[in-house]
Symmetry: C2
Subunit: 487 residues, 2 copies
Amino acid sequence: MTRYQHLADLLAQRIEAGLYQSGERLPSVRTLSDEHSVSISTVQQAYHLLEDRQLITPQPRSGYYVTPRKHTPPAPAISRPAQRPVEITQWGCVLDRLNEEPDSDAIPFGSGSPDMCQSTMAPLWKAMTRLMQAQDSRVLNYDPVYGSLALREQVARLAIDSGCHLNPADIIITHGCHEALMVAIRAACQEGDIVAVESPAFHGIMQKLRGSKIKVIEIPTDSSTGISVEALKLALEQWPIKAVMLVPNCNNPLGFIMPEQRKRELLSLAQCYDIAIIEDDVYGDLAFEYPRPITIKSLDTDGRVLLCSSFSKTVAPGLRVGWIAPGRYFDRVVYMKYTGTGASASHPQLAIAEFIKSGGYQTHLRRMRKYYQQNLEKFTCRVREYFPCGICVSRPQGGFMMWIELPEHFDSVRLSLELSEAKVQFVIGSLFSASGKYRNCLRLNYGLPYSDKVDQALRKLAKAVECAMLECQMQIAEENRQAHANR
Amino acid sequence: MTRYQHLADLLAQRIEAGLYQSGERLPSVRTLSDEHSVSISTVQQAYHLLEDRQLITPQPRSGYYVTPRKHTPPAPAISRPAQRPVEITQWGCVLDRLNEEPDSDAIPFGSGSPDMCQSTMAPLWKAMTRLMQAQDSRVLNYDPVYGSLALREQVARLAIDSGCHLNPADIIITHGCHEALMVAIRAACQEGDIVAVESPAFHGIMQKLRGSKIKVIEIPTDSSTGISVEALKLALEQWPIKAVMLVPNCNNPLGFIMPEQRKRELLSLAQCYDIAIIEDDVYGDLAFEYPRPITIKSLDTDGRVLLCSSFSKTVAPGLRVGWIAPGRYFDRVVYMKYTGTGASASHPQLAIAEFIKSGGYQTHLRRMRKYYQQNLEKFTCRVREYFPCGICVSRPQGGFMMWIELPEHFDSVRLSLELSEAKVQFVIGSLFSASGKYRNCLRLNYGLPYSDKVDQALRKLAKAVECAMLECQMQIAEENRQAHANR
Ligand SMILES: Cc1ncc(COP(=O)(O)O)c(C=O)c1O
Ligand SMILES: Cc1ncc(COP(=O)(O)O)c(C=O)c1O
């Protein structure tokens, strides 16, 4: 670290600690140069750096002042989607996303992948290599359609942590959580049905429903406690809803964990209206709190919960190992699994079973929970620092997804095009609505290792948001002016 | 090899070569003992062995005679399924098959797996191990939904051998041929449609149609030339058929290769009635003839053929790497693939791409073609030798599946239960019909390395068939008698 960077950090800490208060004038360049025995130019460089970081602001002919301290942006308010079943649109933008050329220069805030560079992955690599070196014949052969027993045993063991008592025979291994969700839908629903979802909701879930010719009704969802059980009740009273599909733990995109009481209420409601619950717990093991939150499945008494998960977010998505515990839908799920893809690949199942059995998975989880929580702190700080006022930011309680809500008229699609040229990628909010709501929102992956490049990308993003917000305001003002003039 | 085995083989060769003719008396034990300078007991042992192999028959007090030579059993006649759309049943027996406990002691004539023990697999193991040792990060990450470009390039290259000119961009990698077939159905058909299939037809295809709520019409199929184009035409005239699904090269279960002229006729018919063709070429590279037969896809001019395949039969099913070239259905197939399973696993794709690129795949194919052809000869000989008269046996032109048709009233389900206790597994014929026809048929995998154990299992099977046939005949006679008595 250079001398001026060191000085800048020291000053930043003092500002953070409140030794220099918001709006206060900072010592002159000469004073600091004397105090720290460094050259005038070193102090000037340090001040420039802090200015770049927007911690201080220069006033012509008067010196530097602590930038008025920004408050933490509020969390998004509860969502208010239209309360009627709709056809899902938005496939076009999902496809655009799938078609994005992989670009190793770009900063992928839009990525759905976890960080996979931690040393705690080593035992998994070892297990994978060992199976290959041993030329284990199971690698080549058809697995049972239910998946490998070795893995199902380990999944049953893990499920205890989320309060679930499952037998290996209750579990079917799938090709990622994607397949688990799809077979769940096909087992519990039919063409023409209506399914309730969170709002915003994971676009993968909605596209699966669309592909199955099912309509959705988006239910108001609180950014820190999840789907509104009251609103769901109203919807159930009004519409013949067949199932509710949700991500109650470390939600994608909002990051909330549904409080246990709400989970109970939701289950009671489902029992009362006799609907299925398709529960996606793909991020559940990454909750910051320990022990991890329970699943709704753990409360289930009559087999109406189809619990779907995978090792894509906790370990690595490229292995495509997921699972489903489908309760009373077991037979139909086996059928859908068989007809959809036949057996699953053996090698990654055996490797993950080994990884869990040896304790490597749990060690890795401990590392990742901490890593994501620390990264979240960094990101939240920087977002507060770099982004303009007037935004809302979710408060994730696990996983690695952050949701930013910009003012109502903001167009994240335009922003996305603009920034993809600057090699900054994120996910536009409208993917997370059946009907194209949330165009004013973005989802960021805060699990990226926080490097200088990442920091610069976040700044670029913040800057572009600021410009776009200004433009947007001006446009609205202009429209108002014209409307006024035309009156 | 012991002395008596050697002698037995020598005598068997002479019989085979016609030096000792069918029904002829063989030299006495003493004569042979003198001629070959071996002990009396050696000759006796040799004769016992040949007797066991049913090549010779003892006549009390008269010596040994060459067993009257059996004729090659005829190929099954063209099938005659009901010519109307039916709901598919038979899921129960498919499920039973999926639930069969793997039993390493049993002889798996029912297996759908290729032989994977040949040394030509070594380069694949190497490629797989290398990727793991290098900790190639692509192994862990999400692949593009279309699959890895490296593999799509190689698949496009291979397709040239079947007369197809494909671009990598025309191909989508899938989770085995199972997924390819399923996305093809979901892209080209809807609930309530009617699809024409071969009869007998691969049960996986029919279950996928059932799962998609599609009815099938089984079309008469010739055991050596495939689906009857004339019969299909009649069906098309009568019913609103949406697509035809077939395995024209090295058919499962019949083993035929549809002649090129028929393929052309089928395509013209499809064009004329504007239906889609879902072509399953999963065994196509294993045709005994070289160069391999063309696909119908190679004749396609307007994108109506969805070509499905995988490396499950040519390389190893446990890797779950398949592909589809869906022609004009490309966009819908991408959608179905995305919603069904998301991306495919990277590692096996990269390994197979490498295997093909380095020439290893082609070397392996050459070996396997020869191996299966030689095995087929052995199996055919033994089946002729061991099985009773009155059966029909298919004449496979590639792949490793053999179809045996027993007399009409034969019950292969009972036989299967009986033999599973004796640790001999095969597939019952009724799986291959929508409506439970072919209960009198069996499918055998003749790709198993021909060991003594396999030979014994084949004998047991033949013996059990013989007994059951006798019983069956007696029962019919008894029924006739009673019917007569009651008249
Ligand atoms: C909530 C949620 N469910 C399911 C998935 C898909 O998981 P997989 O990669 O295991 O198919 C994702 C990943 O994007 C996700 O965010
Ligand atoms: C004709 C046919 N198509 C498809 C399949 C399934 O292939 P995969 O294992 O690649 O899914 C099989 C295997 O049983 C088959 O025989």
